[in-house]
């Protein structure tokens, strides 16, 4: 059987989901944002909730997420996505509401918003892209930057005495009673991406159960900011990011039910 015989519409096993628009993504080649957008879109398609989902986009590279997913969107001021999502969810409790935030947005300027949204137990989904750097503005140090990691504002590497220690947010908010599901995933391989997709789906399902906030952290790469090729950035992430940000579920209140 030759290749042209296989390429028939009835043999398609994987194609781009219609939730994603046809716009070309502005992200750099190999950026994890594109993969995570796709996973969110696939979850929305599989659950059949295109009409019932509201996204809140952050400030950062992913501010343009509203150009790529064909759903209802809001765009929040820097770091304030959980506050906006709180309002959307309280006004329309039947809708699925999620925020999509980077580490510069969520772990820095938006720390107060995320912690209080978790503490109040808002029934929203938070997707947190952690690549340890401010990607959009030119690769400056973020709160999540690893010790010794070189960025444009820490050219000799992050020094704990001068810059403090990396902020590991997920275990912090796991202590709060308002959170229902906290997990950390990545999308650098097909296996990891499939697990991340399952976690995103679970988070969306939990958000309709009224048991609290679901938080999906995706350890990601910023190959342009890290000054590496996309594949080298994935290797660097496995070697350096994973020891500080290990993958896996951190909290799941329904695990034993």
């Amino acid at each position: 059987m030759n290749i042209e015989d296989i390429k028939k519409p009835e043999n398609i096993v994987y194609k781009k989901t219609p939730i994603l628009t046809d716009n070309v993504m502005h992200y750099c080649p190999g950026c994890s944002h594109g993969t995570v957008h796709k996973l969110v879109a696939e979850v929305i398609e599989e659950m059949g909730i295109q009409e019932e989902v509201i996204g809140v986009s952050p400030v950062g590279c992913s501010v343009f997420a509203y150009n790529y997913l064909n759903i209802d969107w809001q765009q929040a001021a820097h770091g304030r996505a959980p506050a906006l999502a709180t309002a959307a969810k309280r006004l329309m409790p039947e809708k699925y509401v999620f925020t999509y935030q980077g580490d510069g947005d969520l772990a820095s300027i938006g720390t107060a918003e995320i912690i209080h949204a978790c503490s109040r137990g808002e029934n929203i989904v938070v997707i947190f892209i952690n690549n340890g750097i401010y990607g959009m503005t030119g690769g400056q140090m973020a709160p999540t930057t690893l010790l010794g990691m070189k960025t444009s504002t820490t050219p000799y590497g992050r020094d704990a005495k001068l810059n403090g220690f990396p902020l590991v947010l997920a275990p912090m908010i796991a202590q709060l009673d308002g959170t229902a599901f906290i997990t950390r995933q990545s999308v650098h391989t097909a296996v990891a991406a499939r697990k991340a997709k399952a976690a995103i789906r679970k988070a969306f399902e939990y958000s309709q159960k009224g048991i609290g906030l679901s938080f999906v952290e995706i350890v990601s790469t910023c190959n342009s900011g890290w000054k590496l090729s996309p594949t080298a950035a994935n290797k660097w992430m496995v070697e350096n990011m994973f020891p500080k940000y290990p993958l896996g579920d951190i909290k799941d209140v329904l695990k034993n039910e």
């Binding site: 290749i3 390429k7 096993v13 070309v24 992200y27 750099c28 594109g34 097909a190 991406a193 594949t231």
Partner: protein, 72 residues
Amino acid sequence: MAFKGAIEVDTQKCKGCSVCVENCPTKSIQLSKLVNSKGYHYAEMVGDACIGCSNCAIVCPDSVITVYRVKI
């Protein structure tokens, strides 16, 4: 049971990041020597070892890969 697969790449949207190349278990993808209109070496299928596992498509950040699969 065995599977045989094929992929189709939207060459104009591919940015040549080669994440798919790293994730292919049968080494059936490589970056083309040619470039698209933006100057990226786009991904293309090589040989006939593809099994249609969709690994390349699920890790593709720009969702440019369509996967076909048949049982043989």
